[in-house]
Symmetry: C2
Subunit: 261 residues, 2 copies
DNA sequence: TCAATAGTGTCTCTTAGACAATATCGC
DNA sequence: GCGATATTGTCTAAGAGACACTATTGA
């Protein structure tokens, strides 16, 4: 446990209102990719039927980005996540939900939670998204979380509040993003095959990409470099390994280059 | 005064804490364009030397978008503004400023403002931007505003808090935006000349665009349509008038078309 | 006819996008 | 040799981008 974990001595139900900002929170859409599957990390609190995004409150001493990171790290165990803010959500009754009531909270926590408890107030939520290899992640719940799991983006469970809309919005942002940023850089191993990166893009964009044109584009822009090595596999020809060219990729960002067609 | 103006019976210094959300606010970057000039609408509160963005608090009964619109309408008098959220800003000490203190607020307002007044708390601000014809706008201040004026984006005055960063960020978003949205639609008169739209794009992007290629692109994509009419002007050939093709333009949005090169 | 601005056409070069045959591996 | 997957080249059409001359108007 590092120093950040001191924060966990705050019990939101007892002294949360003193340490956290009111009326504003963060929610993370944590995308996980692994072998042609795109998933989202969701949690289900004790006593609730619906799932939710890993989100939380902002401490008075931290930035919104730090809050998002703290929460994302707690759920994934990963410290190198690249979080990107995508939008804020603010509608007066957005957090009213039959699955989020004083009665339920009281029952689960053992504390007497009043109806006008600060948590039931109007909260504006700042949305962040990130993308990681989901095989590296062991989803961590906490005391209040009954489950914490990866869900395929194509088969999401029923969600509380406006969290489904948030996921859709984050996915839209990710898909626009992928045209201008070498997403794979954060996601693929240092050395990867053409099939790896090809499958990644096809999965995220949810459409077929011609492998000849895709390869051609990545190579002529110089974003990736072919290495001498090949990956040993069984039963067929060995694929070559590639890596990103960091300089070219920084440049691509600046010039608003379109990376995939 | 329409019904919305009832809200103005809230005096932020007296009962603001009851009607507004705490720890979260909105700020608007209102861009104004007119004859090759791009400006931003700024205000300077009484007793302060620095300028600020027209921003404010969010009522418990409105969405963040409605709050942004209410504030933008109050300053511009325009009701048809298209506001776009671009980013939220949240850093613990972002609103600490020598120009924003209890003493100063007390002096200006005549109320005794305590040091721990809610307004001095950590506020996360949701940033919106919009773009309008600035000749249509008569900047309106209010009781607390000593000045409310248009400033050229290239010569901004000293600004309070992180508002300069917000403007830069909004401008960056606008410039990316202009590649994928027919910005002029919100901004130019229904019928306009090629020079009008050409100058608009050059001004916003702050660079020269070859008029032949620019015209060609707009016409071959079909985004704009040439009308039979010409605009009567003195001393030289009459320019033709054009208008946007709404269908083509909706399509351009969907297909992520690049509108200007 | 002059001053001022409007309006256009051509050429080159790059690249998007469609398309399928050949090469290597283990067995 | 077979099954499986990897790798790669060509063609066409569209468009980006460079470039400068002619047309209209009022005075």
């Amino acid at each position: 446990m590092d120093k950040k974990e001191n924060s966990e001595t705050i019990n939101p139900l007892i002294d949360g209102h003193l340490h956290y900002l009111h009326n504003v929170s963060v929610d993370n859409v944590i995308f996980g990719y692994h072998e042609k599957e795109l998933k989202v990390l969701l949690q289900r609190p004790q006593g609730m039927a619906k799932w939710q995004l890993p989100g939380g409150y902002i401490k008075r001493t931290e930035t919104i980005g730090e809050a998002a990171r703290r929460i994302a790290e707690a759920r994934t165990g990963l410290t190198e996540l690249y979080l990107e803010q995508f939008r804020s959500f603010g509608t007066p009754r957005r957090t009213e939900d039959e699955d989020f009531t004083p009665e339920l909270l009281s029952k689960v926590s053992g504390f007497k939670v009043p109806a006008d408890f600060w948590m039931f107030d109007y909260f504006v939520s700042v949305g962040f998204y990130t993308l990681t290899e989901f095989s590296r992640v062991k989803p961590n719940g906490d005391f209040y979380m009954e489950e914490c799991e990866w869900w395929p983006v194509s088969e999401l469970p029923e969600m509380v509040f406006d969290h489904l809309e948030m996921i859709k919005e984050a996915l839209k942002t990710l898909r626009v993003h992928i045209y201008h940023h070498p997403i794979g850089y954060e996601l693929l191993p240092e050395k990867f095959t053409l099939q790896d990166i090809h499958a990644l893009y096809e999965t995220i964009l949810d459409r077929k990409l011609d492998s000849r044109n895709f390869t051609k584009k990545l190579l002529t822009t110089g974003i990736i470099i072919k290495l001498g090595e090949q990956k040993k596999m069984k039963g067929h020809r060995y694929p070559f390994l590639y890596m990103f060219d960091k300089d070219k990729y920084e440049n691509a960002l600046k010039e608003m280059m379109v990376l995939v067609v």
